[in-house]
Symmetry: C2
Subunit: 229 residues, 2 copies
Amino acid sequence: MPTFFSNHISQSTIILDENDSRHAIKSLRLKSKDQINIIDGRGTLYTTEIIDNNPKKTIVTILNKKSFKADIPLQLAFCPTKNNDKNELVVEKAVEIGVTKIFPVFSQNSERRKWNSQRMEKICISALKQSGRYWLPEIHQSCSFTDFITSKHSEKNFIAHCKDAPKKALSNVVDSSKNQLILIGPEGDFTVEEIKLALKNNFCAVDLGNNRLRTETACLVALALMKNT
Amino acid sequence: MPTFFSNHISQSTIILDENDSRHAIKSLRLKSKDQINIIDGRGTLYTTEIIDNNPKKTIVTILNKKSFKADIPLQLAFCPTKNNDKNELVVEKAVEIGVTKIFPVFSQNSERRKWNSQRMEKICISALKQSGRYWLPEIHQSCSFTDFITSKHSEKNFIAHCKDAPKKALSNVVDSSKNQLILIGPEGDFTVEEIKLALKNNFCAVDLGNNRLRTETACLVALALMKNT
């Protein structure tokens, strides 16, 4: 049964937005009385039946609903790369793996200073449906390294960098039962001052193995380890 | 210092191919007496000096060489997805993470039956240079599921699938000190018969967590766990 996303949910009916209506009626050729799943991104899965197959504004009636508890927080903060396709890749794959919050952070060596939250939210919704999750991750607005690092975060905060300094292997310090956050740097890495500021603010310096990983690869490797070990 | 790849290495000199020569001389504007690093993909790093800055056939002399031991085998077999960009992504990221062999496998539900090894080898070389590794992973020709599963592989063989059947969490059975292989299925998953055949051939069935991962995401999550835990 196809799954759609909606945050326009009333007591008994749900209206699909124009894109989803077109997809349901034109592409999937669904008709009145066909059933579809709808998730609200806040932990509820609705089993519904189409009552008006309008291809611009499809209306369904709720047959059943089921609640799922929220995921343990798994937070990713990263410095967006110059190539925005790679940032979109990070968002899509991070959602599949199980991220719950994404923070774009601009550090001193960041080459990109633009972040389109709206576009990223769309990617996030699409990955959510694909991955069978029920809680929509939060995509934050961009902020500066200093503002980010000095605000309160989680129980376990990690910063991954490539400088020659004391670091722990991420796989040795992760704990998927805890609220965790990882901060991944830009291509030119964090500066020594930024790393110092992070350590002062309760971040633990980690590495992700011997190979030099691109920003987007580092994000996905870190999340895979934090989610699964 | 920029790093290049060459497998045309003599006792004292190395000739860069046409692409690399152009890149070195035209893009990076290197001149005679400039130094560059060259890797041969068989564990040796050469420190060299340009003696002929011909932009079509740059020649360098070897100043120094250093050998690195081979990585512990980390093998990925996967059913290529319909969208070839995603297959290229798998190869690039797998090399960064540390894969040593890649096998494209065509299973019953495979939607793609084409695999361009030559193109994938180029991506592999580029990712090798980027990630600072010294041993070039092997990219194999495609083969059928049955041929693949019945040939000899490694100490630890895993097959990831989404069917409801006894499985272990991959993170609980990985061991980065061992020769490991993971087999990832197509979008439509392996068939029950394929899974049975794998179990018979000494493969251990694993899952990669609760979320439904796309083929390319599953490849990268599995490799991240196998490499780092």
